[in-house]
Symmetry: C2
Subunit: 324 residues, 2 copies
């Protein structure tokens, strides 16, 4: 069926002035984009942001939304240690949005793409009742891809940055949790303006042996569960080692439930065969890193406090993540 | 934000048992799919089908919908003469759909993918108010990619198959045009179960010089306009040469307006430097082919009848396709 007129122009605006890289032979304006051969293994991922589910236009600017939509995808490439290269964007447009909105959205998306050296090579625009942005991102593997299925008993478990801030920021935006001042701003920013850990992921993927890794998008406990299930192992996580930010503690105290289950962090969780000090890793990766526990042989995840008392157990081979 | 539980399982079901090709190193279940290096130039396209805009669940089966969603993308690869290789699928799921619906949808999609030798390597599922299926499809160029910008004055303009059937089928489904019997079935099937001309596109791309080409998704007149605009040329189309099917004529008569403007055909329109007989092209491509006119130097499109009388003119450098 025919799309609204102007699709071509909107896509052209979205793609902007394409960087003249050797990678892009033909950008938007034909049936497909045409990319140069890829001598390296390729990564591909798709993620979608839906109004009312993943975002609310009242919460931030259109530019923030565009940048966030790309970063959610960049984080998947980061989790495998890849180099993002190009993307296509599907925009489902509901009535009631003006040109200024799309200008802002595209500006934010293009800026985030330029910062990550990603070419926006094409797209599609369709009418819908609900606004959504779906991005498919390609990347390349430089050496080895980090995977979820290579964690081994004895591995140390690390996370980058702070966790729980974005989940708390979301609840502040939803007026479920009160917060003011700089703590509020910081937490809300972590939700609205996530930054995928692409550079840290690339450096991690060069370590030997290649770490098991995942990005924390659904919440640390659930994403850890994916690693444990894929690798057929368990883990012992020390609750007091979870990296809660000062802003998190100021607004929410020492309760780590949001940090464990909240989601939207877009930090990396990874497992190293050899223990490396947090300080050395921080210097190497260029981001804060915390060792939060270790991989175990028994197929359950234990959450223990600093004195070793167990405060949570997940077992049943992580079947709780699956509907029965 | 967290997605509904079971996403992993739904994606795994969607992807089915992946063909063990050398192309797919790692399929669904990690942050990204991992594909083997591509020694050939690559094509990438994205297209989306939205409930209430592109389809209505009352019109056909879920399996038809799944197959159609892929064929819409296959048609873009066909238009450039490429070989489709792998895809990722984003599914936006509204409330009220049961497991049987998704089983059917995935079955149709997987079958269409298997027939086209396409690996479904990953996906994403999100909650939404409106059902939509967005597919990003990768392909490879074997020799040269057919483009929109290479039509030259004197080229003959051809289309594969019949045009207008799908547009008529849609209007029959919408109860806007009455039809019964085998003509109705045939026209409705052309809308609900399009088959992208992938094999014909591959053969066309091997011709020298490489034809200009596009797939007819928005309607012949508009898609021809894209070729003319990109190539900086005009065209003279002979209305009586438009390939209207017997079913089209039985239901709608000789009026070619739906064939020109209707869309959803997913046939190929292409321009050849050397005139080749329809019969020879048909033998070579394995599909019916009609020569409908020729490319001209003046930047306007003329629709003429068999005696040369002009019945329609588009000019202004095809700016009418653009919002002012």
């Amino acid at each position: 069926m025919k799309e609204p007129p102007g699709e071509f122009e909107l896509i052209a605006r979205l793609c902007g002035k394409l960087p003249r890289t050797r990678r892009v032979i033909l950008g938007p304006g034909d049936d497909c984009a045409l990319l140069a051969p890829s001598p390296r293994p390729q990564l591909i991922t798709v993620d979608s942001m839906v109004e009312g589910v993943h975002f609310n236009l009242q919460w931030g600017t259109p530019a923030m939304l565009g940048a966030r939509a790309l970063n959610v995808n960049l984080s998947d490439i980061a989790a495998m240690g890849g180099v993002p290269t190009s993307c296509v964007v599907n925009l489902a447009v509901r009535p009631g949005l003006d040109a200024g909105f799309f200008d802002g959205l595209y500006r934010g998306l293009r800026k985030a793409a330029a910062e990550a050296a990603v070419a926006v090579v094409g797209g599609n625009i369709t009418r819908a009742n609900q606004l959504s942005i779906t991005i498919t991102l390609l990347g390349e593997v430089e050496t080895q891809a980090m995977r979820r299925d290579t964690a081994r008993p004895g591995d140390k478990v690390y996370v980058t940055g702070n966790i729980g801030d974005a989940a708390l920021g979301l609840r502040i935006l939803q007026n479920k949790i009160p917060a003011v001042g700089s703590a509020r701003n910081q937490l809300v920013k972590r939700f609205l303006q996530p930054r995928a850990q692409v550079a840290a992921g690339r450096k991690l993927a060069r370590l030997q042996p290649t770490p098991a890794a995942i990005d924390i998008s659904d919440g640390l406990w659930q994403d850890l569960g994916h690693i444990l299930e894929c690798s057929g192992v368990g883990a012992r996580i020390i609750s007091t080692r979870l990296p809660l930010s000062a802003a998190y503690r100021r607004v929410y105290g020492d309760d780590c439930d949001l940090a464990l289950s909240g989601g939207d962090d877009y930090e990396l969780l990874f497992c190293l065969r050899n223990e490396i000090s947090e300080a050395a890793l921080r210097r190497h990766l260029g981001v804060a890193v915390s060792c939060i526990g270790e991989i175990t042989r028994d197929k359950q995840a234990l959450l223990v406090n600093s004195t070793g008392n167990i405060s949570a157990v997940s077992h049943r081979g992580w079947d709780q993540l699956r509907p029965s």
